[in-house]
Amino acid sequence: MIPFTLIRAESLQQALDFLSREGSNAKIIAGGTDLMVELRDLSPDAKGPDTILDITPVDEIRGIKDDGGTITVGALTPHREISTSPIILQAAPLLASACSTVGATQHRNIATIGGNVINGSPAADSVPALIALNAEAVFQSKSGERVSLLKDIYLKPYQTDIKDDEILTAIRFPHLPDGARSSYIKLGRRNALAISRMNVAVVLVIKDGKITEARISPGSTMPTPDRITVAEEIMIGEEPGEELFRRAGKAVSDEMINRSGRRWSTPYKEPVIAALTTRALWVAASEGV
């Protein structure tokens, strides 16, 4: 492995101080499940980060809080904690579901939601659920706090707009509307230790038999994650049903092609993301309260 200096940040302040000075030549390590693989891949002569900043001791950005209106998940919270949290299971079950599928047990014990978000993989497991929750990303730096809608931080695959002197400290999202139903489906090649071949998170609000709100966020489909509003709009004011959900699914796959173009994987992805979306909508509509 390439040489570097390892610095442990005992507090958020310490971490931010360090990054304000040396952030451009440093990488942050938390769970390490992505970074360690990256570092291993570097040739021994390659130029890597001068410093690795270990923020695992920074307890203040770990944990889940609910103030009744907004749920705040500390960036350093491991997936296992999120997937078993009574708060998340009750108020955002799609996120619990998403986090329960990351890698395997060993990963979920240390990999953090912050890491999953900042790594910026188009196949990130938690991101579509967070986007469907209209999540915000909270960044801190020595100069203060920056909040951004989560979907807006992504510039391109594996790249967010995080600055060298910033740490992602929390992801937060408002409670879902009353009576909202949600679901999350992940398709992997195998049932554990699997990258999302594709995934999708949906939220539906159904009042008096009609859909009043819809959110759809697919993963492993586009260069940067987003809600697919063209598909959502189709459903507003309509009754849930097979034909409607199929149209919504098709709208998602059309939008995928619109944004990503036709690629080598499109013949597979096109019908499958449509099918997964349709299925997720069904699950949400019929069970996902």
Binding site: P3, M36, A104, T105, Q106, H107, I110
Partner: protein, 157 residues
């Protein structure tokens, strides 16, 4: 590279070591402490042969920097082996044909140990999920699951 001072507890014994900052926990265990029971199968956290228990949870030691373990407690396969004989999980693996080549075995036992510590009455599905990060190419997992189930059932009495 300047060496880092590290205080770490492994299998109940406290150590103070000077290590390279880029040393993986896996290498600290195998090279510095000569605990070779923990194995390397892939180096990228995809096989679980390097599984150890960190603060009570199963983790892949190839994905953790030793320097991140300041003040923390690690348990390896050597740490769960009694002075004499075998612990109930080890005995159950022996009794139930759960070991063939044995390379995945230390990691499997530690994942099972962590599982049973947090959930002493797992279902078969929960057992399979707990060991889903430990690849085995020899056994097809059947007898491993049975061995863990037997310990769980035994502890119900």
């Amino acid at each position: 590279m300047k060496k880092l001072k590290l205080n770490i507890t492994v299998n109940g014994i406290s150590h103070t070591l000077r290590i390279a900052p880029n040393l993986r926990l896996l290498d600290l265990l195998r090279e510095e402490l000569h605990l070779t029971g923990t194995k390397e199968g892939c180096g990228i956290g995809e096989c679980g042969a390097c599984t150890v228990i960190l603060d009570g949870r199963a983790v892949n030691s190839c994905l953790i920097l030793a320097g991140q373990c300041e003040g923390r407690e690690i348990t390896t396969i050597e740490g769960v082996t009694p002075e004499d004989g075998l612990n109930p999980l080890q005995q159950s693996f022996l009794d139930n044909g759960a070991v063939q080549c044995g390379f995945c075995t230390p990691g499997m036992i530690l994942s099972a140990t962590a599982l049973l510590h947090h959930n002493s009455t797992p279902t078969e599905a929960e057992i399979r999920e707990a060991i889903s990060g430990n690849l085995c190419r020899c056994t097809g997992y059947t007898q491993i699951v049975e061995a863990i189930q037997a310990v769980a059932d035994g502890s119900k009495e």
